[in-house]
């Protein structure tokens, strides 16, 4: 299993770090993978309109974790990829969607304020692009001053159905064009930029449509959204102890019933269930990745009674923590 963690903004620098871990180098913006954990390449481009971008075409020979750790920078990473895999998922701030098998062709946007972990198993093929977008860039190129609210709303949504866009035909076609050997010559960068810009246009025009539909069903102002985001942060600040609804509603000076409703609108679950799901995800991670014992995990997540912990875990995963841990060791 190969794991790569990084938190720098610039993709070219991240690529150099990755190359170092692979004990190889980046040449002319290109990192050729050495065969383990993958074959293929990642190419970096700084486009004429200042977009920082990479093109990825990899076949994995080992399982791979990529983790962009959260920072306090207000940037976004735009991801457009086709992954063919037995087992793959992207986990944002600990929210793990159902892993997919077969072809996952998705387009989505993640804030730098969130932690992004992506996993794909050995044998997977990963082809796609990734673009770093700053709020200034979005404002000037997409004239998204109004999109500000739209973006906030979008990023707050973590339920997969709204968050991730299944790739459409046009995007797929453009991606294919990007993955072809680049046309050398003076127009090379224009060629790449134009296709990447078209992909962004398709995504953002979809996004603004989606969000305007959503705003009709979910009536929340920009301030409401900001407050609920604050609640979510407070709720998850300590996974060993859930704050009460009363405490939370005091925090943002909103009635308990309004808070519960708006929280559900944004995160798809009532606050306590949401907390519980995050807590059990964390538990699973500690068991499987950090290899802690059931007792250690239960205790550190605030369960003094282990059978309560086992019950809670079972409720989320339909499996006892001990059984799951055994599987991971196997």
């Amino acid at each position: 299993m190969f794991e790569f963690k990084f938190n720098i903004r610039q993709l070219d620098l991240a690529l150099i770090q990755l190359a170092e871990e692979l004990k190889t180098t980046v040449t002319d913006g290109e990192l050729i993978f050495p065969g383990d954990p993958a074959t293929g390449y990642i190419r970096h481009f700084l486009l004429p309109n200042d977009l920082d971008t990479i093109i990825i075409d990899l076949s994995l020979t080992d399982g791979m974790w990529i983790n962009r750790q959260k920072t306090d920078l207000e940037y976004y990473v735009f991801i457009c990829e086709e992954i063919i895999s037995d087992h793959t998922y992207a986990k944002i701030d600990g929210v793990k969607p159902e892993p997919s098998t077969g072809l996952a062709a998705n387009v989505y946007l993640v804030s730098f304020l969130s932690d992004l972990r992506q996993y794909a198993s050995a044998g997977s093929t990963v082809r796609g692009i990734r673009v770093i977008l700053s709020p200034e860039w979005l404002a000037s190129y997409l004239h998204v001053s109004e999109l500000d609210e739209v973006l906030q709303r979008y990023l707050a949504l973590k339920s997969k159905s709204v968050h991730v866009r299944e790739m459409d035909y046009e995007t797929h076609r453009l991606l294919e064009e990007l993955l072809r050997p680049p046309v050398e010559g003076p127009l090379r960068n224009a060629y790449l930029e134009n296709r990447i810009m078209m992909i962004l246009e398709i995504f953002f025009s979809w996004l603004s449509q989606q969000m305007s539909v959503l705003s009709m069903t979910v009536k929340m102002t920009k301030d409401d959204i900001a407050r609920i985001i604050q609640v979510e942060k407070a709720l998850l600040s300590d996974l060993s102890r859930a704050p009460s609804i009363t405490d939370l509603s005091k925090l943002i000076a909103v009635s308990a019933s309004k808070l519960k409703k708006q929280f559900r609108d944004m995160y798809g679950l009532p606050p306590y269930e949401y907390f519980q799901q995050q807590r059990m995800q964390k538990a699973k991670e500690m068991l499987m990745v950090d290899q802690l014992t059931v007792k250690q995990v239960g205790n550190s997540l605030g369960y003094s009674n282990l059978s309560n912990f086992t019950l809670a875990f079972r409720k989320v995963f339909n499996e006892n923590p001990g059984e799951m841990k055994k599987k991971s060791i196997k």
Partner: protein, 340 residues
Amino acid sequence: MIVFQTDHPDFHISLKKFASALGTSLSHDTLHLPQHYGNGYLRALRMPNGLSVCIIDVAAETAMELHRSAVEPYFFVLSFDEIYIKKTAVHIIGNEKTEHFPPLFSAAFLNSTMFHDTAILTEGCTVYSVKIIFDGKWMQRYLGIDGEDKLVKRYLALRTKKLLLEPLDGTYRNHMDELISADINNPVYFAIIENRVMLLIERFFSRLLKRAGKLPLYRIEQSDIYKMMTVEAELTRDFSSPAPTIEALSDKFDISVSKLKRQFRQVYGSSVYDYFQQLRMEKAKKLLLTGHYTIKEVGYQMAYHNISNFSRAFKKAYQFLPSELQNFRKKTAVRIISDD
């Protein structure tokens, strides 16, 4: 008759002046032609990447004479013009004059502001056009082409007499249509405009560079190129009925069948029927992608009264069936896996 003179290369500034000369003003960067002059609008936009763009969709009742003085340091002007001409249209660059005749002038060309430029349109012209201005620095940064590039210099030096026309084909027109029909209230309006403008530029320059060794581009007379523009327009006017036969076209435009076939290929790069078919399938694909029509409906609109004929023709063009367009994801998976 409207006579207008500007000495500024920026479209927005010129358009403002033009508006006040017509006794009106811009609203949302747009000049709506006052009714007694005709119909339609001119729009001048400044793109985030520094391009100055002018979009024209106008049916003019009055004759027009538009002058732009030479500007130093000079800018490049790339035009995509589709002009339906009633009597004549004259374009004077420096001291060289070209006259265009009815019915149609439909081409892209690159120009610079090095010379005084005059366009004289007689009354009743319909202008559908996208014009783009940039300087040498922009060209270097975005296109990687040096403004002092030999090819570009040679191209510009040819000016009008052997004006290097790039006749507009279906692909150019497609970008223009998407650009001109974009809704200004769309939140991503500027991205739509800029992206289509960039695609127009990319295509123009990549074709120019590809043929770098071969200036002038065509070995046929300019008047014959104009004739082909008219043939092309007739050929692609209407996809809801079958393609006109070559004989019908040759009769209509008074040109021999063999000359028509040869010259059409020289100008548009493929045979008359292949060209028609390619555009027809592009159009079908676009209609299908809107999701508003069934395959049968699209087939009908493209003059196929038999679905399986339509599907077969579509598959020939794209290697997959119209029904697979929506489900292309499954298809991709199968294809990629089978590659291994």
